[in-house]
């Protein structure tokens, strides 16, 4: 107990030290100091949260009492520890990366203030996650929001960035307001602001309060998580932010929105109706689909990744929604599986998205351009960055043996578990959402084939891309760390899921570890799921012996425990990777042996015999994704932005404009109508202000009469 909490204090002290150093050190030395101290901070906090995760020993620090508002409490339980752990996992490589990356700002922007904000942001995020009362939660939430705004808007001299920053801040504040309302509604009944007392008091809340709390918290925190409709800030904030901050934004800060949703709707006030669960599921699914569609057609790598973050947040939310539905329908095990899938996906997303943003940052700092139309052929000049980006792309496209596959697979399987539910309508919703998520997964592959192929393969389409050089080792190592984590989380789900189970079982009151990762080849006699006849037949087959050869928990299994068909879904990425290695290695050796005596000559790709294959004769990113744009025309509604034709004497054309632009569907269908409404109301009001004294006097008179009439009527 003492150890962890004092280590936590050490973390806070380190943050303070880092801030002090940042103030004292000159700009030139700041990045290195930042990297050293921040990675130390990350290591400490990883140790603390990892200890809590593995042992399950919760620690609590009571801070000072505040008059009439109760005690401020810091408490790290399993859920907090999980989020803190992910935060540390992302902060560690990002901090190391910053040392090399931030040098490009030297002399242009203040590195001092960057470091100060960075340490404070880290501290505020961790404090937010361990805050266990409403006051400290809201305080740290605000601190985190403002600090992240300051960091995103770091390149403040660019006008576009400032407006994106303001949008981010404004939407974040609107979300905070809604979330704060939800928390206050919760607190109304409890009489205390402490989460523990809130939890005990929540059972007495009425239906309408529960709905209000759910809607306010879901859409309030949803803004921070980048869910529709409050997602429009994200694709604008990312291109503005420096590469390392983008990695934090997608890898850490978006998670905080999810944390809020989970904390309120799964922990403090567990969802008790199917309705909120379905809303969560549908919003998540639509976010995922809309996110990936826009990601596919965007050519700015950061915008593409931002939209893809919306997609992944959507997938996670859909998983959470499925969990809520299962909880409300009384299937705690299925709910546990759904939550596991969702949180696993969240870990994975943090890892690969941070990796992708760091590699995009590396590309950006080396090439000076993020538009995929102008890149191409980077693998030749930046082989390591290319490799790491490829790992990230394979992970995010959910291809085994990387981590995205495991969680995406579990999420889709969870959708299939809806067969257990009674209501047909709910089943149909699940089926539609499952299909949409599958489409999302397919589009994700398209999107990242495009991202990798258009940027790293082929011929360089600009001089900048041709002359790019590989980044420094200090920037490659953190990418490598994240890439290795992506691989490990992909092949070792059987070790991750039990840990997640520690976090989730307090919420669902059921352990799912045996359900998802049963001991390998083990069927125990007397298990109520299986008949004795089956078990003995299983034993006779010698299956039990596998247990002695292959240790540990070997498979991820979704039991659909019928007697005839005891195991339906089973998967082991660990053994898949062994098989993959054997197959690939075997093929390689076979080819080598068979073609030993032959000479292999390498020749350039066949180009149809053109004189010279020019870079402008190869597919651009726009061209690659244009079919998607055409197929989903109904959603994009892209309008011809520029279609002028310049001609000399009618038939000699000298220029053809053909630029299409699309307004994001949320902007088009939600925010623009709202803005338009507000503007028209404002203009109506404006009409009343004629400036004539007589008219104003008349207004006074009319109001007086109206008030009197109301008075009389009452």
């Amino acid at each position: 107990m003492f150890e962890t909490s004092s280590l936590f204090i050490l973390f806070l002290t380190l943050c303070a030290t880092g801030t002090a150093f940042a103030v004292l050190l000159p700009d030139r030395r700041n990045p290195t100091a930042l990297a050293l101290i921040a990675s130390l901070e990350a290591a400490v906090i990883l140790w603390v949260s990892g200890y809590v995760l593995l042992t399950g020993r919760v620690f609590q620090i009571d801070l000072w009492d505040i008059l009439s508002l109760g005690t401020m409490v810091l408490r790290m339980d399993g859920l907090s520890a999980l989020f803190v752990f992910i935060t540390g996992l992302v902060f560690l490589p990002v901090s190391i990366f910053s040392a090399g990356y931030m040098k490009k700002y030297l002399g242009r922007y203040s590195l001092k203030s960057f470091s100060i904000f960075y340490h404070l942001l880290f501290a505020s995020i961790v404090l937010l996650l361990v805050a266990s009362d409403i006051l400290s939660f809201l305080l740290t939430w605000e601190g985190m929001s403002i600090l992240s705004y300051l960091l995103v808007n770091y390149e403040h001299e660019k006008e576009k960035n400032t407006s994106s920053g303001y949008l981010m801040l404004a939407m974040s504040e609107a979300g905070t307001l809604a979330a704060a309302l939800a928390l206050l509604l919760l607190a109304r009944g409890a009489g205390s602001l402490d989460f523990v007392s809130l939890r005990s008091a929540s059972t007495v809340l009425g239906e309408s309060s529960r709905w209000a709390i759910f809607l306010l918290s879901f859409f309030g925190f949803g803004v921070k998580a980048g869910l529709i409709p409050g997602n429009v800030w994200l694709p604008r904030a990312h291109p503005a932010a420096p590469g390392n901050i983008s990695a934090l934004l997608s890898g850490v800060i978006l998670n905080l929105g999810l944390y809020g949703i989970v904390r309120v709707n799964a922990d403090i006030l567990p969802v008790s109706q199917i309705g909120p669960g379905l809303i969560t599921l549908i919003v998540g699914t639509i976010s995922a689909l809309v996110g990936i569609l826009y990601a596919t057609i965007r050519n700015d790598m950061k915008k593409m990744l931002a939209h893809s973050s919306i997609e992944n947040m959507g997938i996670i939310t859909a998983g959470l929604g499925a969990g809520f539905v299962f909880t409300a329908s009384g299937y705690p095990v299925l709910a546990g599986i759904a939550f596991t899938a969702a949180l696993y996906h969240m870990i994975n997303h943090s890892l690969y998205k941070a990796l992708l943003f760091l590699s995009v940052g590396a590309v950006d700092s080396s090439v000076g351009d993020r538009n995929m139309d102008n890149l191409g052929g980077l693998i030749k000049v930046m082989p390591w960055t290319g490799l790491f980006f490829l790992v990230g792309a394979l992970s995010i496209a959910s291809l085994p043996p990387f981590n995205g596959f495991v969680s995406e697979w579990l999420t889709l399987q969870t959708m299939l578990q809806s067969a257990a539910l009674e209501s047909t309508a709910v089943k149909i919703v699940f089926a539609l959402c499952g299909a949409s998520l599958a489409l999302t997964a397919a589009l994700a592959v398209t999107c990242f084939v495009k991202a990798f192929a258009m940027s790293f393969l082929g011929i360089a389409r600009s001089a900048k891309a041709e002359k790019a050089i590989e980044v420094k080792r200090s920037m490659m190592i953190p990418m490598g760390m994240l890439a290795v984590s992506c691989f490990l989380f992909g092949i070792l789900p059987t070790y991750v899921i039990p840990v997640l189970d520690h976090t989730i079982s307090p919420l669902t009151h059921e352990s799912i570890a045996d359900e998802l990762v049963p001991p390998f080849f083990t069927v125990v006699k007397g298990d109520p799921k299986f008949s004795d006849a089956f078990v003995s037949e299983f034993h006779d087959l010698g299956a039990q012996t596998g247990r002695d050869i292959l240790p540990g928990r070997g498979l991820v299994v979704l039991h659909r425990g019928t007697e005839r068909n005891p195991v339906v879904f089973a998967m082991s990425t660990s053994y898949t990777v062994v098989m993959l290695a054997l197959l690939l290695g075997g093929t390689f050796i076979l080819v080598r042996v068979l073609t030993k005596s032959r000479t292999v000559t390498k020749k350039p790709a066949w180009d149809g015999g053109v004189r010279r294959l020019l870079p402008e004769m190869t597919y651009t990113a726009t061209g690659f994704s244009n079919p998607v744009r055409v197929i989903f025309e109904a959603i994009f509604r892209s309008s011809m932005f520029d279609d002028k034709k310049e001609t000399i004497a009618v038939h000699f054309r000298t220029a053809i404009g053909n630029e299409r632009k699309e307004v994001h569907i949320m902007d088009r269908s939600v925010f623009q109508p709202i803005l338009k409404g507000i503007r028209s109301i404002a203009s109506l009001l404006g009409r009343m202000h004629t400036g004539s004294v007589n008219i104003y006097a008349a207004y006074v008179l009319i109001s007086l009469v109206v008030v009197l009439i109301i008075q009389a009527l009452l």
């Binding site: 000559t601 020749k603 350039p604 066949w606």
Partner: protein, 256 residues
């Protein structure tokens, strides 16, 4: 769609039986002039009528240089004593280098040969005849010959045309892109010698100037059966013809 199936069945098989049996349908081949041993003066006068110098008088005989003959019929029509005319189609011949080199392609190619066609400035007739070998009457697929979209998969390059200046690089690139072992078949008089066009400022004197040729198919244009014969010679399923008389080559060509 059903009626198309029915129509196809009703049409039956029209494909030639060559190379198992000789094709004797009228109009399948325009034929070629053949040299004569006769030394009558009138016959020798036809030599002067040849506009491309394909006919030459050698040792009281007329020899025909098939690399130059363009089927103008001036040696058979409107003259009293026309040159002899043969109506066959097995005209393809291995080049001297290829014959000396022995088996160009291995046995594995005998029943599966992938062909890339390159138009190096052909007039269209040769290409039209090459297209015919892919069509029902000749159907080269039954012999294991296939046209492939890229030279990367091709075993044989089928070249027609005198090789124009602008097609030199594409032709060379296509040849270089092919994996070894590879063969080159020159189709038509233009591809053999430049025909009526070359050599000039814009076109060369045939394919062999640029890349080594293994099989030469004379004719202007060679009929589809001659092209099939050429491909069969390439994979050694048919004997090379002895049409190209070495003597006329040795004397060298001259253009009028």
């Amino acid at each position: 769609m059903f009626k198309w199936v029915l129509k196809g069945l009703k049409t039956g098989i029209v494909t030639t039986l060559y190379p198992d049996k000789d094709e004797s349908a009228p109009g399948a081949s325009p034929g070629l002039p053949v040299g004569q041993k006769d030394n009558k003066e009138e016959v020798l006068s036809v030599v002067s009528r040849c506009p491309t110098g394909a006919l030459s008088r050698y040792d009281h005989q007329i020899t025909v240089d098939y690399e130059l003959c363009v089927h103008c019929f001036r040696c058979v029509r409107r003259i009293k004593d026309p040159i002899d005319w043969q109506n066959g189609y097995e005209w393809a011949a291995s080049t001297a280098e290829s014959a000396a080199g022995g088996h160009k392609l291995g046995k594995a190619f005998r029943r599966s040969l992938h062909i890339r066609v390159v138009d190096a400035g052909a007039c269209g007739a040769c290409l039209s005849e090459i297209e015919q070998i892919n069509k029902p009457y000749y159907n080269m697929h039954r012999l294991g010959f296939f046209i492939t979209p890229t030279p990367r998969d091709a075993d044989v390059l089928l070249v027609a045309g005198p090789v124009t200046d602008h097609m030199r690089m594409p032709l060379k690139k296509a040849y270089d892109a092919m994996p070894t072992p590879k063969g080159v078949v020159a189709v038509g008089t233009c591809a053999l010698s430049g025909g009526v066009f070359g050599p000039s400022f814009a076109s060369g004197a045939g394919v062999s100037e640029l890349i080594p040729v293994d099989i030469m198919i004379p004719g202007c244009p060679p009929p589809p059966l001659a092209i099939i014969h050429g491909l069969l010679v390439m994979v050694e399923r048919r004997r090379s013809s002895s049409l190209t008389s070495p003597k006329s080559q040795a004397e060298g060509r001259h253009h009028v």
